[in-house]
């Protein structure tokens, strides 16, 4: 019997190819998309899974009463070690790291790298595998260095590089050779070597090298920027550590810290999903929802088309019933058919997966895993999809078809199915709602993202590139860099060059509490402190509100520039009033004169409010990281080439790794850009599925009413008249869909925009255009289809057998 079902299903597939293509096409799109999203979600849950004993691995995070006192994902440097030493019954092991950014050279090849200085516990605790070298002794020597296989390839072109040397420059310009003592196997993504997306550490230095880099503060209880990890003993929970941690901090750290700090013990697995304001989790939820909705739309399509198609099957159903087929048997038959359809769609989706993978990965900015990287038992998932989706999609049409009255069906009357019109209309209505909502929110997301890159930045990002310079943070170092700056500025390809610690990417060096000279600490304002030379304003074309900016011929040691926000918060009514006034850093002996007020500009993401800023000259605070170049308009590529040539003669030991400010911004908004891309895709997919659905329904409807079209044509109906017959079927549903979709889209967009301190206005225009667009496409589709039917010779339609 089952074989018979399959045979019929298979034949039906080819009997009406258009119907099959439309049904399978919709399911195929939905399932492919769901598989891709499923792969991505699975991969995100695999993070950290490569670590030994991952369920016992925790990270210590910091909850500061005043968020300016420290970073949330780091902890006090000696804390984890002290825990292990004092509570060996609770703690199995601990790990600390210091991430630094250095230039590594192999002879004349220089690269800037993120390097992790580690506690010797790393390999034992997390079980990283070594390809070459002895894991026990690899990092005992303070001059040792361990690389990943990939980095070994990068520097030496091969992986067995034990006993080779690499030289590293420290922050005061000294060089030292390090001996390669080990090469690590490929490290699966985890939060130990890859705590944030900006720092992927694949090069490791021993704890003994800390002093060379001047960071030997791991015993200092006020040193709070060290990521710290612990592995708990079996059966110990994070709450068991609450009191030990409190006691240790109270005993060792000063009062200001112990009063303000709460240390949390967070499972590594959870931390990945929750960090950065639930970033990963939000993305997972968003994508899963989108995937689910698209799959749902595809299923609805299938249901709608199957029901509409049923008029063609009436005769068959009648005959089957007259011949004694029971209702359940018919239900089974139709279910088999839908399962065969879903099987084909799933099969095609699996074939398509490797092809769509790179495209989708690029779209959301993540690697999507290969099919072969899934565990073996995942083979059951497509089977499960086939059964579940097949059942969901098939059960309703099967029930409708199977319950048709035998005699009525034989006569070709289709009374029963017309009662299901409400259901089928609500289904298509749901599709309209989803498509419209997705379209409108996509439009709004895209407007907001354009706004990030638009004219509201407060500075001019055009033709500006930045490059990291070596750190020599001494007054002499500053002087040397100023000379180099002048050399660059003299180039004809370059408009302006500036030396600074910050570029507008949200990362500022330090936060300072500041109050007016004659004021008390009570009125102090925490401010972002920037360090920039006198050319910063011209390079970024930030407008000045009052006073002047630093000038080369100025004695700048006790002078600062603030932004308007700082001026307001410090209590000066106007920018002019602030000029010539003095400000003070508490407990600092000197006070600084405000010589200028700049207009507010977006230094960081528009998610956050513009913060008060105070700008120091590098001569005051000898810290710097970047040279920013404002190139002259014209051939940018050749300008960059000229700068590169100049760079290699001025800074021979430093790689010229430049980045456009535009790309810096793209990094800053990478999540938003990913969201925008994902939104575009789901927008396309949902439109395609809706159009497939409308196409299927209209063609079925035309089939059913082919005779009526004939009659109407004979009576003189034109193409418009006939198109309108079919358009009318969708008008009311579409109207209701608009009424529901607009407020839903508005609410969703508002919710999302709520994340941003600076938002676009949601304009009615957006809604109108979206509705018009969808209406237009649907109308065009219907007219195209009816045109074909209407051009048919009515004499043929009316032939009575």
């Amino acid at each position: 019997m089952l074989k018979n079902y399959f045979k019929i299903a298979w034949r039906n597939l080819f009997k009406n190819p258009l119907y099959s293509v439309v049904s399978i096409g919709g399911l195929f799109v939905g399932i492919t998309f769901s598989l891709l999203i499923g792969g991505y979600v699975w991969q995100e849950f695999q993070v950290n899974e490569g670590l030994n004993n991952v369920d016992n691995q925790y990270i210590l995070t910091s909850d500061w009463k005043n968020p300016n006192m420290g970073i949330d994902f780091t902890s006090l440097a000696p804390l984890s070690k002290a825990l292990k030493d004092n509570y060996p019954t609770l703690i199995e092991n601990y790990y600390r790291l210091d991430g630094i950014n250095v230039i590594i050279s192999n002879k004349n090849d220089h690269f800037r790298e993120s390097v992790q200085i580690w506690d010797s516990t790393l390999i034992a605790m997390y079980g990283f595998k070594m390809l070459y070298g002895n894991p026990k002794t690899a990092l005992l020597n303070p001059n040792a260095i361990v690389l990943s296989a990939e980095k070994a390839q990068k520097y030496f072109g091969r992986t067995n590089v034990v006993n080779e040397t690499l030289s590293i420059e420290n922050f005061s310009g000294e060089r030292k050779d390090f001996l390669v003592t080990g090469v690590l196997k490929k490290i699966p993504k985890n939060l130990v070597t890859n705590l944030s997306d900006n720092y992927v550490n694949e090069i490791f230095l021993p704890q003994g090298s800390l002093s060379f880099f001047g960071r030997d503060q791991w015993e200092d209880w006020s040193y709070n920027i060290i990521p710290s990890y612990v592995e708990l003993k079996n059966g110990i929970g994070p709450t068991d550590l609450t009191i030990p941690i409190q006691q240790l901090i109270k005993k060792n750290a000063d009062q200001r810290i112990s009063e303000n700090l709460k240390v949390n013990v967070v499972p590594l697995k959870e931390f990945y999903l929750e960090k950065d304001n639930h970033l990963v989790k939000r993305m997972l939820y968003t994508l899963s929802f989108v995937g689910l909705f698209i799959l749902l739309m595809a299923i609805i399509n299938f249901i709608n088309i199957s029901v509409a198609h049923s008029s063609k099957r009436m005769m068959e159903i009648g005959v089957r019933k007259v011949m004694g087929g029971r209702k359940t048997q018919l239900v089974y038959q139709f279910l088999t058919e839908s399962i065969v359809f879903v099987f084909i769609a799933t099969f095609l989706a699996l074939l398509c997966y490797p092809l769509a993978k790179p495209w989708f990965g690029q779209l959301i900015g993540k690697q999507i895993p290969e099919l072969s990287s899934f565990p073996m038992y995942f083979i059951g998932i497509p089977l499960l999809i086939i059964l579940i989706v097949g059942f969901l999609a098939g059960i309703y049409p099967a029930m409708v078809l199977a319950s048709l009255n035998a005699v009525e069906s034989l006569k070709g009357r289709f009374k029963k199915v017309t009662t299901s019109i409400v259901i089928s209309k609500s289904l298509i209505g749901f599709q309209f709602i989803v498509a419209l909502t997705v379209l409108i929110t996509t439009a709004i997301i895209s407007q907001q993202v354009d706004y990030f890159f638009g004219n509201s930045l407060g500075y001019n990002k055009q033709y500006v590139i930045s490059a990291s310079v070596p750190r020599d943070w001494s007054p002499e170092g500053v002087e040397k860099m100023e000379t180099i700056r002048n050399e660059f500025a003299a180039m004809k390809e370059v408009n302006e060059v500036s030396l600074s610690y910050e570029i507008p990417n949200g990362n500022f060096g330090f936060q300072l509490p500041i109050h007016r000279f004659n004021d008390t600490r009570k009125n102090e304002v925490p401010m972002q402190s920037l360090v920039a030379d006198s050319h910063y304003l011209d390079t970024y074309q930030i407008p000045l509100a009052a006073g002047t900016f630093f000038r080369d011929d100025m004695q700048v040691r006790d002078k600062v520039v603030i932004n308007e926000k700082a001026q307001r918060l410090l209590g000066w009514e106007s920018s002019e009033k602030a000029i010539g006034q003095y400000i003070k850093i508490p407990e600092d002996t000197i006070s600084y004169m405000v010589i200028g007020v700049i207009k507010d500009f977006h230094f960081g993401s528009m998610a956050d409010n513009i913060e008060p800023q105070v700008i120091f000259n590098p001569k005051t605070i000898p810290n710097f990281r970047y040279l920013s170049f404002k190139l002259r308009p014209g051939n940018v590529e050749s300008s960059i080439k000229a700068v590169r040539t100049k760079w290699s003669s001025l800074l021979p030991n430093t790689p010229f790794e430049y980045i456009f400010i535009d790309d810096t911004l793209k990094k800053l908004y990478s999540n938003e850009l990913q969201l925008k891309n994902a939104a575009y895709t789901s927008c396309w997919l949902s439109l395609i599925i809706v159009l497939l659905g409308v196409f299927g329904l209209v063609s079925m409807s035309i089939n059913k009413r082919i005779k009526e079209i004939g009659i109407r044509k004979v009576l003189g109906a034109s193409l418009q008249n006939i198109s309108f017959l079919f358009i009318r079927e969708f008008v009311s549903v579409f109207m209701v869909a608009i009424l529901i979709a607009c407020p839903v889209a508005y609410a969703l967009s508002k919710m999302w925009l709520h994340n941003y301190a600076y938002q676009i206005e949601i304009a009615p225009k957006t809604f109108i255009w979206s509705v018009l667009l969808v209406t237009g496409i649907i109308l065009a589709l219907i007219v195209m289809q009816t045109k074909k039917a209407s051009n048919r010779n009515p004499a043929k339609n009316l032939r009575t057998e």
């Binding site: 005779k707 009526e708 109407r712 004979v714 009576l715 003189g716 034109s718 004499a795 009575t800």
Partner: protein, 220 residues
């Protein structure tokens, strides 16, 4: 002269051969005639009627309708021509199931873009003339065959055509209903409407003033 067919040929290709549906048809019809087309099944009666009604084309020959050369007209002009001058009555009535009697009769006027007040007047007039005012809100399924055909005829006449083409109008009716329809045609003909009907029955053919006999697509 209302219309004229000169040497009309119509064929379909079957394999390499032409199968003729109409062969060398020459007819001229004056206004006010009542013509019956007779012949066995498959002799080409319905095809001829479709050609006359401009619903179907032909492969060779000339067709002039009210001095207009139909064979040279474009699809749209042809449609305008038959919309204006020709009414159709079918054996299976071909009423639209979803529309009431009133709306069925009104449909051709909608397509001719006639204003609503005039439409109402015309439909009321027609309903009255055919004595079906009481049934105007019923759906086709609620009427007997004879009544449905009556609506069909009323619908054909509403736009005041010069020519009515009827394809076995009584084929699905019992004899009494059939007689009533034929009497109606007779009466219309007296009022000046030209009628061409396809029929199997000698008795119905006798209502006409002239009979054209077809056999295998050829006039005999």
């Amino acid at each position: 002269m209302l219309l004229e067919l000169n040497g009309i040929y119509k064929w379909v290709k079957s394999g390499g051969n032409r199968v003729f549906l109409l062969k060398d048809i020459n007819i001229s019809v004056e206004e006010g005639e009542f013509i019956s087309v007779m012949g066995p099944s498959g002799s080409g009666k319905t095809t001829l009627l479709n050609v006359l009604g401009m619903l179907d084309g032909f492969d060779e020959g000339e067709y002039n309708f009210l001095e207009e050369p139909v064979h040279t007209l474009k699809e749209k002009q042809r449609a305008n021509l038959y919309k204006e001058y020709i009414g159709f009555v079918f054996q299976a009535y071909h009423l639209i199931d979803e529309l009431t009697v009133y709306e069925n009769i009104e449909t051709p006027l909608l397509y001719k873009k006639i204003g609503s007040s005039e439409r109402r007047a015309l439909v009321a007039d027609t309903l009255d003339r055919f004595n079906i005012v009481g049934k105007k809100d019923l759906f086709p399924a609620q009427l007997s065959g004879g009544q449905q055909q009556l609506v069909g005829v009323a619908r054909a006449l509403i736009s005041n055509p010069k020519l009515i083409l009827a394809d076995e109008p009584t084929g699905n009716l019992n004899s009494k209903q059939g007689e009533e329809i034929m009497d109606l045609f007779k009466e219309l003909n007296k009022e000046g409407v030209t009628i061409i009907q396809v029929t199997h029955s000698e008795k119905n053919a006798a209502y006409g003033s002239r009979t054209i006999n077809l056999l295998d697509g050829r006039m005999v």
